[in-house]
Symmetry: D2
Subunit: 344 residues, 4 copies
Amino acid sequence: MSSKLPFASDYMHLCHPAILERMAATADTSNIGYGCDAICARAKEKIRQACRAPEAEIHFLIGGTQTNVVAIDAMIPPYQGVLAAETAHINVHESGAVESSGHKVLTLPSHDGKVWASDVEHFLAAFYADETWEHMVEPGMLYITHPTELGTLYTLEELTRLSEVCHDNHLWLYLDGARLGYGLAATGTDVTLADVARLCDAFYIGGTKVGALMGEAVVFPRPGVVKRFFTQIKRHNSLLAKGWTLGLQFDTLFTDNLYFDISRHAIRMAERLKDGVRGKGIELYADSPTNQQFIILPEAKAAALAEKVDCEVWARLDGGRLAIRLVTSWHTREEEVDQLLALL
Amino acid sequence: MSSKLPFASDYMHLCHPAILERMAATADTSNIGYGCDAICARAKEKIRQACRAPEAEIHFLIGGTQTNVVAIDAMIPPYQGVLAAETAHINVHESGAVESSGHKVLTLPSHDGKVWASDVEHFLAAFYADETWEHMVEPGMLYITHPTELGTLYTLEELTRLSEVCHDNHLWLYLDGARLGYGLAATGTDVTLADVARLCDAFYIGGTKVGALMGEAVVFPRPGVVKRFFTQIKRHNSLLAKGWTLGLQFDTLFTDNLYFDISRHAIRMAERLKDGVRGKGIELYADSPTNQQFIILPEAKAAALAEKVDCEVWARLDGGRLAIRLVTSWHTREEEVDQLLALL
Amino acid sequence: MSSKLPFASDYMHLCHPAILERMAATADTSNIGYGCDAICARAKEKIRQACRAPEAEIHFLIGGTQTNVVAIDAMIPPYQGVLAAETAHINVHESGAVESSGHKVLTLPSHDGKVWASDVEHFLAAFYADETWEHMVEPGMLYITHPTELGTLYTLEELTRLSEVCHDNHLWLYLDGARLGYGLAATGTDVTLADVARLCDAFYIGGTKVGALMGEAVVFPRPGVVKRFFTQIKRHNSLLAKGWTLGLQFDTLFTDNLYFDISRHAIRMAERLKDGVRGKGIELYADSPTNQQFIILPEAKAAALAEKVDCEVWARLDGGRLAIRLVTSWHTREEEVDQLLALL
Amino acid sequence: MSSKLPFASDYMHLCHPAILERMAATADTSNIGYGCDAICARAKEKIRQACRAPEAEIHFLIGGTQTNVVAIDAMIPPYQGVLAAETAHINVHESGAVESSGHKVLTLPSHDGKVWASDVEHFLAAFYADETWEHMVEPGMLYITHPTELGTLYTLEELTRLSEVCHDNHLWLYLDGARLGYGLAATGTDVTLADVARLCDAFYIGGTKVGALMGEAVVFPRPGVVKRFFTQIKRHNSLLAKGWTLGLQFDTLFTDNLYFDISRHAIRMAERLKDGVRGKGIELYADSPTNQQFIILPEAKAAALAEKVDCEVWARLDGGRLAIRLVTSWHTREEEVDQLLALL
């Protein structure tokens, strides 16, 4: 356990107490394995309702990289690649897991972590205008994150445009929602979970970073997009034996709005942090409305901070300055934010 | 949750109460991710001691198929295959996960689930005698399970012979210990954990089936066998964000002999079941000294049993008979065994 | 070059003189690359006519293993496997190329190299009866060879049955025709090229072993079975820059029945050899009606033969006996057969 | 066959007449397969001498993409990636073949097709300075082309620097020599074949584009870099049955300096073309000293040219201008160049 202030990530604490209680309560029950149980079934039904996608096919996986790899490989044939921002998690921080399943990541410019529909259109126009396109990797999918790696959010209009461009061009639209809760709970966003389900062909609702011990719920709002997904999860060594523990967590998170309430809490903490930081005249590296905040500090000051605070160097800037990522979560306490601000 | 008697597998219950308590106790602490924390370090040290392998490199993974795939792919180059009994888990029940990482599973005869050293020698002799061997898949590793899929165990002599044959022939010896605790706790076995560590190049100590919520500890007793294993775990989408929860579980299991004590309990329950079954004149499909028992029932009787008992049809035999697998675990209660026996 | 009698394989000579002439005649012409030229188009049209499959999609590849890998990977999704006789080339002699593209080879018994429809049915029945089938590799295709690795042939009735079983069970039927010419030219066969095209979903017409310098023509008799096959060939590093040289060879082979005439010649040579061998009382290892003949010799006699004849040890039998493969080809001369017989 | 002037590529003609003669001369000889013959052995010895690398391990493959994929996969473990210019052939025009074998292509800036040693150093410094580098794809190799895709060449000093940077940082240096002959024959280059062999860990000598019907010779100047390369060729479905035909071609090319003489001829033709183009005031897109020339034309003029000349649109520039690639080869005739110039 760490004795520093916990702002390194949103996965530094075990899980929401309600989940732990629920686990304790079912500790002496027996369950069938691999997610083929009634708890999972109930959790899926609650998610379908929250998504307003009554026909949705839903599966529970353990982590985010895993969900990305399995979903991408299940949705596009081996010879297709996936379009993503050059800063995308799948392109940078997954140790080549997507390539290990044979797919090339085709990069687009990152606009504060986001992909622009016009860039997708330009990519496709240039691709098919190239006489040698059959010697190149055809894109089969667009991967986006919401919130992005920089904490930014798509507007409903931007998401709608991306969806249209994808569907006009036979690309699947896949949304990595590792921090989806924090995105949906952000102040001023006009994107709802139902919008995500309506506009995307697949997405996942992140649990690991939003109150769960582990677990992500991948949602295919319209059935028929993937086949034998259960087997594909297993083939990608991603099937949890005690699958009901994933269902139990999502069942808890999607009861009485818990997922959204704890997300909203993290946003309030992030806003308190952001306001405090701005008040001190500290420059922001990105203008994030969600639970990841990025501040710019001189190297010496960052080093001093790191002795008291768990946090991450996001980028090395010129002039010996560092961009530092500070992350709030469902667990962040007001006094932790205030202590952090006092240290800055 | 199931209302039947729980004999379908040894992963039907959440986890040992000591683990749940431990989780609850650390629920409000913050931890750094991916298993780079002090709890994992301590757990690894305890396992090194239990294995009498002070130099061992140890990593925690989530499940068994996953551990097999990552370890195999990390130990042999892409062009080599892995020898295994034709009944081996990696050959039958992992949805082709090993092949999905490019390696062919080369099969050997199964002798009640076990591989014979002489069969390995014959395979190698025939392989290299074949003029076309460079057009074939060269074996780079022998995969064994202990206990096997049929609950059987290698003797120390058998394991020693396999180890010698492997090392004389430049094969890694890898032992899948999904149920290793139950094997080590079996009555009459002469194989200890230190023997396993001494004789194998890699093996894993199963947690999922022996008291943990999830988790397997893969052990490379002698360092240098694999490189960048952390990155390889991530590349195979198998890295748990909250890695300390795996360390915490193994730290608990390897404190005060818990892993061995709860394994021994399951063995006592299995012996009680086996004795009772034999007393009723029911035929055994395999003579297992561990926690998996296999009985032969007429189809109608099996169907009746299945209405009251969670259990698995293992094989369809001639004469309309079925081999039924009944599994005890660290959680099995004496009265559950007695109720099962009463039903038989 | 070898000074021994050439019976080691049917790919010991460069190519049929008509092909060499054709090459020389076009040596000073310029052509566009990758098989997108008029010569390839014409060759494909001739093959469509020979197959009586006017809609067939046809591609030229360089070698047999390559064609198998690309076709299999293009026809089945990553999570499916391919059924084949345990003696099948893809299972034994392709260095794991099929597994390297992620697919498990699921083995069936070999009956003189052939697969029985009833074995396919039993496999499928057992597979889907297994409660755990979703954890196993689902077969998506049946791979057969015609002639088989042992020179044997399917009858029209057998092939029809296999086709029916496959189509009733959503399996593609794929026929490896590395030596297809020799199969179609065998005395007494009732299988025609049109039958093959009618009954299989894909097959290839072997060129490398039947008169070409290199090259195989993969035929999908009914369009729509594969997508972007050109790109998939390239992705599997199997696209020939000077693709027109493949078209040129098949155009030559499928002009004036050349492919069938030279195949028939090899069969006559094989029959002369087989008759001679039988006349000498030498035991046959397999009763092959095609250009591969298998004879049984004592080890010493085999060694003596190998000093004068290029041939292959096919299997080591008990009693110090060896099964020796002797292969005739389009190039085999009558006097070579007679010299070989004199040596036996 | 095409009736236009052949400037689309350097693989538009069959092969050098000396090769065709040689083939014809050996057409009636029999040979053992897969490159295990004396012709291949002799060709390898000649290449070793030309490279001044008496210990070199050499293998013959069929095409360039194939050689890249097999060599890269054989040299680096699955979890490593390969650094290359963003314009590199493996990153753009191989349909994802490198990724299909599991390796990520990590891109560096392209300086007229070349990679700068300083960019490699910056990449590595930034990579290992990143706290999360173990979650990223570690580079294991640098891939360069010489000549590059733009026809440009490394100087001996540049190549030496790259070699030093690679070896100081545990990167293999691999040189794609699809057009190596044209690079070595360029006017003013100070890089010799012996330099390439001295400075690189692996490279291939392109045959397909320099007089051969097909074939590339991959050279590992110092033994021990790869293991079981033969098997790996087969596993990547890249082993030619009639392997001696590759040896025969390289034996011819490396007899009496043929490879260098015909390369020099192509350079002379390119220089004649370049001089002519410049004389007409046509702008060059790249300043190439080798057999690929790139000129800039207005779209209408390019379209007119394309009716009489086989050539390739390389890039679409602003103002409706096109960069057109014109390629000379060992086969180009002076009058073809003059006709082309007359058309411009």
